[in-house]
Subunit: 256 residues, 2 copies
């Protein structure tokens, strides 16, 4: 009775070294040794190993696995739920990446693909890196930024021009609204703010109302944004901030 390392390794689909490693770090120590010091794994050890491999397959680090299978307090159901959400997140992320790759392929099929230089050309006078850097400093580690990086990576020159045109359109309509003497809290202003948010969602990343509110604050607190926006029409940055915050408050009535 009892199995040798080699047998267990072959049975479980891992290497002998892996079992040695698990023994070293105390994750799975065989219940006994032969008189020559050879590891002897009993059925209980195999069960434990199976659990270890199960959690490992799900991407848990070994130290967490040790806690999971040793701690009788911890609710396994809770772990499963957490792990499921982790998996769905990863799947979603990969699906977005796959979509980005598909768009890149589409762009290639359509012939003219943009070189990085072209990508910068599109922005004309103002340097996109200025914004990108700023955005990065605030949102650098977020999913939103990575998503934006991935999505824009496959944008063609035409895409950029379209995005630019859409933004211009929204801006001119906001300027016109201001000329008409409308309040930033008015229905019309909030609708345009919402359009602005949707524009970001469509073209860059999933811009929640919360993120949009942060951007609104940046519009007035960051000179670079303020001057650029007020260049379209004086006072527009402040107008947009108010409209964007009102729009967010409209969508999220309570707190945060």
């Amino acid at each position: 009775m009892g199995h040798s390392v080699g047998q267990v390794a072959a049975f479980a689909g891992v290497t002998v070294r892996t079992l040695h490693h698990y023994d070293e770090i105390g994750l799975l120590s065989p219940s006994g040794r032969s008189h020559a010091g050879h590891r002897r794994y009993e059925d209980a050890d195999l069960d434990r190993l199976q659990q270890i491999l199960y959690y490992r397959e799900l991407g848990f680090p070994l130290d967490e696995i040790a806690v999971l299978i040793s701690d009788p307090e911890a609710d396994p159901m809770e772990h499963l739920r957490r792990q499921h959400s982790v998996l769905t997140e990863r799947i979603e992320r990969l699906r977005k990446m796959a979509a980005a790759v598909e768009r890149a392929m589409e762009a290639r099929k359509l012939g003219i693909n943009l070189t990085p230089e072209e990508k910068f050309e599109v922005f004309g006078d103002h340097d996109p890196e200025q914004y990108a850097e700023e955005v990065e400093q605030r949102w650098g580690r977020t999913e939103a930024y990575r998503e934006s990086q991935l999505r824009t990576a496959s944008y063609t020159k035409e895409d950029w021009l379209r995005v630019q045109a859409e933004a211009d359109d929204i801006n001119t309509r906001i300027a016109a609204l201001m000329d008409s003497g409308a309040e930033p809290m008015s229905e019309a202003a909030m609708d345009l703010a919402e359009e602005h948010r949707q524009h970001i969602c469509r073209n860059f990343y999933d811009c929640t109302h919360h993120i949009h509110s942060c951007i609104a604050e940046m519009f007035v607190n960051d000179e670079r944004f303020t001057t650029n926006i007020d260049a379209i029409k004086p006072g527009m940055a402040a107008f947009m901030r108010a409209a964007m915050l009102a729009n967010a408050a409209r969508a999220l009535p309570e707190g945060s």
Copy 2:
């Protein structure tokens, strides 16, 4: 002109250390240095970095990335196709894992979950490890085995009994077919072989016709399988082998 490490790091959403590392391994060496020895990244370097991060995001190891973006022969479209297939594979894998987790949760919700001991009880006289070990030695490193491990890990006692019952049903019907004097290449025999394959697909892993053919060979070449199967009815192992191979040939008319 030119950007410092810190600027590039902030812009690209990576750490300075990462850029140092890429410089160390020659993946991305800045085109110049300032008189003080500070790295100066030009726009071309940024483009290269963007590509590197793109491939990195897709999970390629750095040395492969170096080949991919340096090789002028390689068709970018080809890269994209490969990336896309890599992504879809991973998504599929994750989806299966998520499904396994869902089943595990389902099993918990239903209350009685099987202990490893129960899992073995089900098999009664013949030891499942015997097969598992054998299967592992031949399919150990394949996706199929890992999938099977994941799926069976969440099986309850009832699941095992059902699986067992299904297998018994197929076996008795094959035995009956043999009694009727049918040929192993007959339509009926091939249909039962296909049922056998589907049974594996449903309960263990994605058993392709190729894998099924390999199993067919094992049935006659491996005593352990042969004796167990011939115990149901003498000559049954050989009969099943022939039927399974014929079924595979029917599904895959040409080669391999």
